[in-house]
Assembly symmetry: C2
Homo-oligomer: 414 residues x 2
């Protein structure tokens, strides 16, 4: 098993000299050789119990419905011709309508003019970075935050400030803010309404709401989205400062690369132009298939998916309580895939991962990659999404032995 | 019929003031509200004979093969699970292998390590802009050039120099060059080997070769690609300075959004990291389907496609000769979709388009959008890809009447 351990490379990509040719490089990713890509490689090792990736379980995706949808689209010449042809940069109307309907049902008064279809919510972050971030601009992100957001924003060269969970930053007014209010990646936390209102009040510019895990509340409960609260406050989505990023990657299929931005129409118009320059449009056939699957989705499908992830999350909590209580601390998520573990400060999660993979065949993600500025090394992210409850229990039992042995090997605080 | 006429908006997007919120904007596209998106809208009008879009005819796409491929991938649980899941940012190995095999057959010694899969060749241009272009860098492009390249590069704020067809620029060494050597968009021209060698010799930095129309030589003939010449000259792709951008959009399906970059492995590694931050990866299912279609493609399929486009191009040439000889001049392409028409200098193609749509129900693309610096207005692009020969003859006959009437209305040169 080859493991790449995420370690931050803080080279800041200074401007190349003329004549460097192909070795000139405007945007050397700061997370050198790591990030999502290497996490997916850890995940792929065959005999490893993986608590690493933020990937949905394929068994919980609507595979049969997707198969039927591809076949119906391609069986009729008119829809086949449309599905295989170029289409609108803003997104196919049938999918934008379906997404707008869902946004309305989720409390946001909007129309399909407020929707742009993107290649997953990851591309939403890239396009928003391209639209809003000038070199040196301050972007406020969580401490910790989703590492893919750092990767999306970095090429636009912002300066970051870090917001601790629940606390607002010291800076009096935040001009660009990025948050994951529902079942945060990597901590699993959900913001309270009070926290949401406070964040809205403190944001003077653009508030980017990453809602990737929003449909996955274990008990089906909901908090109003930041965009809903913003619309309520100012009376119309056209006056809102919140930009909502959604995705089908956690509930329908990440392989389709379908996400969306919901925002004031004048922002959507700019995003559509940037999308056109970036890749013309999202896959037409995948958009038609997604629209069909959403339109015909049984009302109890998500209920089943949520219940199954809830069982896995509960197994993870039980296993942590049983074998690591008093040794480490951890979050208690109410939805999504992730639990965040704080280790005793003398431990380094990257070193722990090497040992965990080789000695215990258990994978997780070291926490350092999730910090935009100063990394903390004594923390890690566990995902419960890919394993059944008994495998989760086994993985945590093995991991706890590695943690305890590492603590024993350690001389302890001076 | 609502027509948006491309007109360049030369606002240069000065830095927004703090507190502008959602109306701040780092990258206002200079082609305000126009470009590819509006061309697709012109194309979509039902009763208009369109010589506008650079879209392949759906009747010439392998629709049945694609349908079979989707069904085979989704019918088996293992491949279905893989197709619907996250995958490698560099691209799925099965598709990279298939593309590498085709690049080798086309004269480029490379392996799948030299291939990155992108969302069409449009995204290749975006990622290459992100990697190589610093604000103020000089990028050399054709005069005219593909408007989508300008849209892809503009957010990275280059300065452009324009290379006239066949002539190299006055600047002694070009650090970043973008060209479409085969069946150029918008002129249809193919560069000779001598021109290719000269361009390689003059490029000191990065040479971006856009090969979107390369498979579509009417007689199946080929000139060596710039990348092949470069590899021959320096002995290995790893020492080459040429970056080749290919796409399946013109021959298999634009709706899949599958293209690729072929380049030295160290460039591919950087592109894969940027791709990860941009949208994680290209659609997994579309990559598996594309690999399957390429692997099983009948050897005579492209022959049939080329022959059909050749018939249409010939009909376009005949019609131009019959009704516009001595009035306008035009190029004589040996492949691809496009013919470039130079009008008498007193005519403005944008105004001509309005009249052509309303009076003659014929669409084309005014030439001004294809210039990176100083637009010429007395030129236009015709595409023969979407109409059968008799409709092309009818469209040109109608267009010629509008051109001649416009000339009669005009007082003539002072």
């Amino acid at each position: 098993v080859t493991v790449s351990v995420p370690e931050l490379d803080r080279s800041d990509g200074s401007r190349p000299m003329p004549g460097e040719g192909l070795d000139r490089s405007r945007a050397p990713p700061r997370v050198g050789g790591t990030g999502i890509r290497d996490l997916l490689e850890i995940l792929g090792a065959p005999d490893v119990l993986s608590l690493a990736g933020g990937t949905p379980d394929p068994a919980l995706l609507p595979v049969a419905d997707l198969r039927t949808a591809y076949e119906s689209v391609l069986a009729r010449p008119e829809t086949a011709g449309e599905a295989l042809q170029y289409s609108s940069s803003q997104g196919h109307p049938s999918l934008r309508n379906e997404i707008a309907r869902r946004m309305v049902a989720d409390g946001v008064p909007c129309t399909s003019d407020n929707i742009a279809i993107t290649a997953g919510s990851q591309q939403a972050l890239d396009l928003l970075g391209k639209l809003f971030i000038w070199p040196g601009d301050t972007v406020a992100v969580g401490r910790p935050t989703y590492l893919g957001a750092i990767q999306a924003f970095d090429p636009y060269r912002p300066r970051y400030v870090e917001l601790s969970a629940g606390a607002c930053a010291a800076e009096p007014a935040l001009s660009i803010v990025y948050v994951v209010p529902d079942f945060h990646n990597p901590t699993g936390r959900r913001m309270s309404v009070t926290e949401r209102e406070a964040l809205l009040a403190q944001t003077s510019g653009v508030l980017i709401e990453d809602a990737a895990y929003r449909p996955l509340a274990f008990d089906g409960s909901r908090q109003p989205s930041l965009l809903e609260l913003d619309c309520r406050r100012c009376g119309s989505i056209e006056k809102a400062r919140t930009i909502f990023c959604g995705t089908l990657s956690k509930t329908v299929s990440p392989g389709l690369r379908i996400g969306w931005i919901c925002a004031p129409a004048r922002v959507i118009d700019k995003i559509a132009l940037l999308k056109q320059g970036a890749d013309v449009h999202a896959s037409t056939i995948n958009q038609l298939v997604a629209a069909r699957v959403l339109r015909t989705e049984p009302t109890d499908r998500l209920l089943h998916v949520r219940t199954e992830y809830a069982r896995r999350a509960e197994a993870l909590q039980d296993a942590l309580t049983q074998s690591l209580a008093g040794v480490v601390t951890w979050t208690r998520p109410e939805g999504g895939f992730f639990t965040w573990v704080e280790l005793p400060p003398m431990l380094d999660a990257s070193r722990l991962l090497k040992r965990s993979i080789t000695e215990a065949k258990v994978a997780f993600v070291p926490g350092a990659a999730f910090f935009a500025r100063t990394p903390s090394h004594a923390c890690l992210r566990l995902s419960c999404s890919m394993l059944p409850p008994d495998a989760i229990a086994e993985a945590v039992a093995r991991l706890s032995r590695v943690i305890k042995e590492s603590l024993n090997d350690h001389p302890g605080p001076e």
